[in-house]
């Protein structure tokens, strides 16, 4: 069991928790050491996994999932700890590792109760990694819940503003989503195969193709809505602005960067892959909803004055794009969706990190009270601009690659319905430019608004470390997208095949 590299993605965070348990509450250095060592180990492991995976693929290993393994943990219901990764999971793991790594540095000076904060943070990471490595939907769901619960405490205790309200709202809405999800997953399980051969394993379920189309429709709606809530699908997105606005920096990073991706990932891995007929039939409903998300989020972001609200609405727009592209059900568009997940994950994490850093200095997030920060803290200003440009889709940064792949892929549909939604979606790039430039103009440029801000200092070394990690990743994807693109495209082959077969 421990020979499988994947399992270590869950074990390391657990070790991290154990390590933190040993630390004394007051010894900040010990806590930081544990976190740094473990998150670096995770990042290293993720890179290693990535390289190893590509190596195996290059060597001609064409299995759908690599590094598979499964261990029974509840015989009567055939629940297993089944793990395995394809190219998409590998990339998502990589993304999570990067963000966890950056998140640790972004919360270097977390106060109060640093130990407890990092304990919950580690638990959150456990859930996230566990989710991405699982191919047993029950285990997957379990890890999903593990990732959700710490959110409540992390926001409720370490947040700012009306944190209790936001924490409660976020948790309740996401839990509401997982209630739908739970029903959907149980439904999938009970129809997963002939009597006596029920299974939770994604590959087996997809291979069996046993779920009756009439059931698929119901289950598709349940699972898609369930994951869609986490993916901030209109009209279930309102936890996102409040939640992000109240969350502490690292939690916003991890939540917008990774946790929201759980939604998109689940949507195609479960809702679409396992229920292909329903996906073909019912995608249009959700295309409408996600299409609305894309434009709606962007428009809403235009008038917000709180930095985090702007970003949260922008996330609604960008994550809407992810689900939108997934629902297009073409290989290119879905590839774009994954790219968008990676890109959005990195750049939102960067955004939230920077907002946290700026907030930590100015003690306000209201853009009307700030201005000309570029002069005062050029490093943070430049980073913020880079994040902004990534968000509005500047070539050379990751956002462009993702958005273009989505648009080109989505445009493969020839009917008016899809095309008009694609064109509506493309409009968001203009609106995105509007709100990003509005923020940049008000926050960074122009004259200094507040005299007190003149005394502020620029980024410290750990803040630089955190942001540089993310920027390198963003620029990396933006400049050399093709290997990622190919990896994702290969991974989508079985899903696309299932879909085409179902369409016949």
């Amino acid at each position: 069991m421990f020979g499988n590299i994947l399992i270590w993605f869950v074990i390391i965070p657990i070790i991290m928790m154990a390590g933190l348990g040993i630390c004394r509450n007051s010894s900040m250095n010990a806590i930081r050491t544990v976190m740094t060592v473990c998150s670096t180990a995770l990042l290293g492991l993720a890179v290693w996994l990535c390289v190893w995976f590509l190596d195996l693929r290059a060597a001609g290993d064409t299995a759908e999932m690599l590094f598979t393994g499964s261990w029974m943990w509840y015989e009567p219901l055939n629940i297993q700890l089944a793990i395995g990764v394809d190219g998409i999971s590998v990339l998502m793991i990589m993304l999570s590792a990067i963000i966890v790594f950056a998140g640790v540095f972004a919360s270097w000076k977390i106060n109060p109760l640093p130990k407890n904060f990092f304990l919950w943070f580690a638990l959150l990471s456990t859930g996230v990694f566990g989710f991405f490595i699982s191919i047993d939907i029950f285990t997957m769901f379990m890890f999903y819940e593990v990732a959700l619960i710490p959110m409540y405490l992390l926001i409720g205790v370490w947040g700012t503003g009306k944190k209790e309200y936001s924490a409660m709202k976020l948790t309740l809405m996401l839990m509401g989503g997982s209630a739908f999800l739970m029903l959907g997953l149980l439904g999938i399980y009970w129809h997963s195969g002939p009597e006596g051969q029920l299974t939770w394993n994604i590959l087996e379920i997809a291979h069996n193709g046993h779920i009756d189309p009439s059931w698929q429709r119901l289950l598709f709606c349940l699972t898609f809505v369930g994951f869609g809530v986490l993916g901030a699908m209109f009209p279930f997105h309102t936890w996102s602005p409040d939640g992000h606005a109240s969350a502490p920096t690292a939690v916003s990073m991890l939540h917008a960067g990774v946790l929201m991706k759980l939604g998109g990932y689940g949507c195609f891995r479960i809702a679409i892959y396992l229920l292909p007929q329903a996906a073909n039939e019912l995608a249009w409903i959700f295309i409408i909803l996600t299409g609305i998300s894309v434009v709606y989020g962007a428009f809403s972001a235009c008038v917000q004055t709180d930095l985090k609200y702007i970003n949260a609405y922008s996330s609604v727009s960008h994550c809407g794009m992810v689900l939108f592209a997934i629902l297009m059900l073409t290989q290119t568009a879905m590839t774009g969706a994954i790219l968008q997940m990676l890109s959005h994950g990195l750049m939102t994490a960067l955004f939230f990190a920077l907002i946290g850093m700026i907030y930590g200095r100015t003690h306000t997030r209201d853009i009307r009270q700030m201005g000309g920060l570029m002069k005062i803290m050029p490093y943070l200003g430049v980073c913020y601009m880079i994040a902004g440009f990534a968000s509005l889709g500047l070539p050379g940064l990751s956002g462009f690659v993702a958005e273009m792949t989505i648009f080109v892929g989505s445009f493969e549909h020839t009917d008016m319905f899809h095309r008009s939604f694609v064109i509506a979606g493309t409009c968001s790039i203009v609106i995105t430019a509007v709100y990003i430039l509005r923020v940049v103009g008000k926050l960074l440029l122009g004259p200094v608004q507040d005299e007190h801000h003149l005394q502020l200092t620029d980024a410290t070394w750990f803040e630089r470390f955190s942001t540089v990690t993310l920027i390198v990743a963003i620029a990396g994807i933006g400049c050399f997208p093709n290997w990622i693109n190919e990896t994702i495209q290969h991974s989508f082959v079985p899903i696309i095949n299932t879909l085409t077969q179902a369409a016949i």
Binding site: K169, L172, M173, F234, P235, F236, H237, T238, W239, D242, Y296, F299, S300, C302, V303, Q304, Q331, T332, G372, M374, K375, P378, F389, L392, G393, L394, P395, G396, F400, V401, M404, T405, F407, V408, G409, F411, E412, V422, I423, T426, C427, I429, V430, A433, V434, L437, R438, G441, L444, L445, G446, P447, P481, N482, N485, E486
Partner: protein
């Protein structure tokens, strides 16, 4: 062809950007300036080598049977959307890209040099050079694009460089809002470009220019006769792509960003907003010209937009005070000129002379417009104001600037033997060949051009000396600034004699330029008359201009306010989009959607509050309820048993 030079042409500017951008903080100004200028100088040398090799080596790779060939020097896959739709980064060498390499590197180098003097005392000098390098890189990448998507990529990059450079003085709110406006307006146009690319690539299944233009008929066939709202999809695609060009090239109604873009440093205006980036739209149409030929309605659209814009901009330029604004409107007008020339070009009309002349004008215009802008920069540098009302009589104080500026004005007015004469004459000839209406209309615009340019010239260099000169004597700029002026003035004088038709034509076959005497004479006469009129009105201080202005106050004010385009845009964007749409959506989100979600919570909570009285802890109440319940059950049982 060896790929080292082309790669270096792109690699040097981008590495300069990275070096200056990341390491600039630690560098001295001098170091950064020298690095930037050296880098650009090298790039220019390399670009010249490439262009001269292409045009004059006679190598069989470049010219076969007298026809200049188009060749992809390299083409590396960057992103493969599908098997066919592949975005690659490459280097396309053909007459227009070679010509553009020369234009961009020349102007860029001149601006680099000029800026060393002009920006000497500005903070953020290193950053300025970094941005200039970024712009040069993007612009070079744009012109050598092998496929439409590469062009789109660099198209966006030039947009961002332009944003960064316009907003260079980021502490000025006006510069910030101008840069924002420029970016958003062009971005809006790029949306059209993007959709156009999507439509075009969907039907033709390729992004590659060579594949698209070598066989435009098959592109038409691939659409299978699909139409949308009465026009074929190919027309739609081409018009939408042209919309992208309209944004960058500031065609009506997307021109509003360009005058405001003058908030940027003047050398930047010369580089980006006069010579290179703004002609990207023209270049785009020229690049896809064979496709446009298939759909002539798209070309007609281009012609109409160009003709209206040219006239509009010329009229507005007559009523501006800010010299940079005058030049900006003049730029809009001149680019529209090129657009019209492209729009009227047909292979059957003198072998698409319009195309050739448009490119010719692009070349000459880049030179003399850069010259004018740099001259304006020198004036502003000396007077510290953009308005000609603060100038006047400067010819004695700034002779170099005066003479070079005069050459620029003569060139743009189309006076023989300056560069503008030749290119403009060819364009007008092409227009007359298509339809005399275009020709006559554009001749009138040419007259207006001569008028407003000389109006500015006389107001700046003649008229009456500003009394402030006694306290603060204006003088010619330092050598870094004067040298580019002199070089560009020289080029403006001689560029007309370049046998341009031999080098750049739409299909690579040489075309021998011959001056059409009627057209040439007409335009010359019109231009001279216009100059005479300007001289009569503005040479000496008098009350005629004021009288004219007072005679038609409404018209003058409307033209001065650029016919209220900005106000209309402000109304649409601020009042309608921002206040009505965005705010109502935000309101809807908070008060409907979010309130619904909160409503669920509130209903749950209210219900629980309402029924929590039942869990009062009062055992008496429990007993009471229990008892009633028991009685009820008994009753039910009894009824059932009956």
């Amino acid at each position: 062809m060896d790929i080292t030079l082309p790669i270096l042409i792109l690699a040097i500017p981008i590495s300069m950007f990275l070096i200056l951008g990341i390491g600039g903080v630690k560098m001295s100004r001098k170091m950064a300036g020298v690095l930037g200028i050296l880098g650009m100088g090298t790039t220019m040398a390399l670009a010249y080598t490439v262009a001269f090799t292409y045009f004059f080596s006679g190598d069989s790779a470049f010219i076969v049977d007298g026809i200049r060939q188009q060749l992809q020097v390299f083409d590396v896959t960057w992103l493969a959307f599908t098997e066919k739709l592949v975005v690659s980064i490459g280097f396309l060498l053909d007459p227009i890209s070679a010509m553009m390499l020369v234009v961009i590197t020349t102007i860029s180098f001149m601006v680099h040099l000029y800026s060393w003097g002009y920006m000497e005392h500005e903070p953020g000098f290193q950053r300025y050079y970094a941005f200039l390098s970024l712009f040069s890189f993007s612009m070079l990448g744009l012109v050598v694009a092998t496929n439409i998507f590469q062009m789109y990529i660099f198209w966006e990059l030039v947009g961002v460089s332009s944003y960064l450079l316009i907003g260079f003085f980021y502490k000025l709110p006006s510069a910030v809002s101008a840069s924002k406006k420029a970016f958003i307006v062009t971005r809006f146009a790029d949306l059209g470009f993007l959709i156009g690319i999507l439509v075009l690539s969907f039907y033709t299944n390729t992004f590659n220019f060579a594949a698209l233009t070598s066989d435009p008929a098959s592109a038409l066939a691939s659409t299978g006769g699909a139409t949308f709202m009465g026009a074929s999809v190919l027309t739609w695609a081409l018009v939408l792509i042209y919309v992208g060009g309209m944004g960058k090239s500031a065609m009506m109604p997307l021109h509003i960003w360009l005058p405001d873009a003058m908030e940027g440093p003047t050398p930047v205006s010369a580089l980006i907003h006069a010579a290179t980036m703004v002609v990207a739209g023209v270049y785009l149409v020229a690049r896809m010209f064979p496709l446009y030929l298939v759909e002539e309605s798209a070309l007609t659209f281009i012609t109409c937009v160009g003709a209206i814009t040219a006239f509009y901009a010329a009229v507005v330029a007559c009523c501006q005070i800010d010299i940079k604004r005058i030049l900006a409107f003049s730029t809009i007008s001149q680019i529209a000129f090129m657009m019209v020339a492209l729009g009227v070009a047909r292979p059957e009309l003198h072998d698409a002379m319009g195309y050739m002349s448009s490119m010719f004008h692009l070349f000459t215009h880049a030179m003399f417009k850069a010259l004018l802008f740099l001259g304006a920069g020198a004036l502003i540098h000396a007077v510290h104001s953009n308005n000609y009302t603060e100038m006047g009589g400067l010819r004695k104080y700034m002779p170099i600037t005066h003479w070079t500026f005069l050459i620029g004005c003569l060139a743009i007015a189309g006076i023989w033997p300056f560069a503008g004469f030749f290119s403009k004459d060819e364009m007008l000839a092409a227009m007359f060949a298509n339809n005399w209406i275009w020709g006559a209309w554009m001749t009138m615009v040419a007259g207006l051009t001569a008028f407003y340019m000389f109006r500015m010239y006389f107001m700046v260099f003649w008229w009456e000396e500003n009394p402030h000169y006694k306290e603060h004597k204006p003088h010619d700029a330092p050598w870094q600034m004067s040298l580019p002026l002199i070089v560009l003035a020289t080029v403006s004088c001689v560029a007309g004699f370049i046998p341009f038709g031999e080098l750049v034509t739409w299909n690579g076959a040489p075309y021998h330029i011959h001056i059409d005497p009627v057209v040439a004479t007409t335009s010359l006469v019109v231009a001279v008359c216009a100059i005479g009129l300007a001289a009569w009105l503005y040479m000496k201080k008098n009350s005629k201009p004021a009288a004219m202005k007072n005679a038609m106050p409404t018209l003058w004010k409307a033209a001065n306010r650029r016919f209220y385009w900005d106000e209309i845009y402000m109304f649409i964007t601020h009042k309608i989009i921002f206040n009505i749409i965005c705010k109502s959506i935000a309101w809807f989100d908070r008060h409907i959607i979010d309130a619904t979600m909160d409503g669920f919570a509130k209903v749950t909570q209210r219900t629980s509050v309402a029924i929590k009285g039942m869990q009062s802890g009062s055992i008496q109440a429990y007993v009471l309820w229990y008892f009633f319940g028991a009685v009820l059950l008994a009753l039910v049982t009894w009824i059932c048993l009956l």
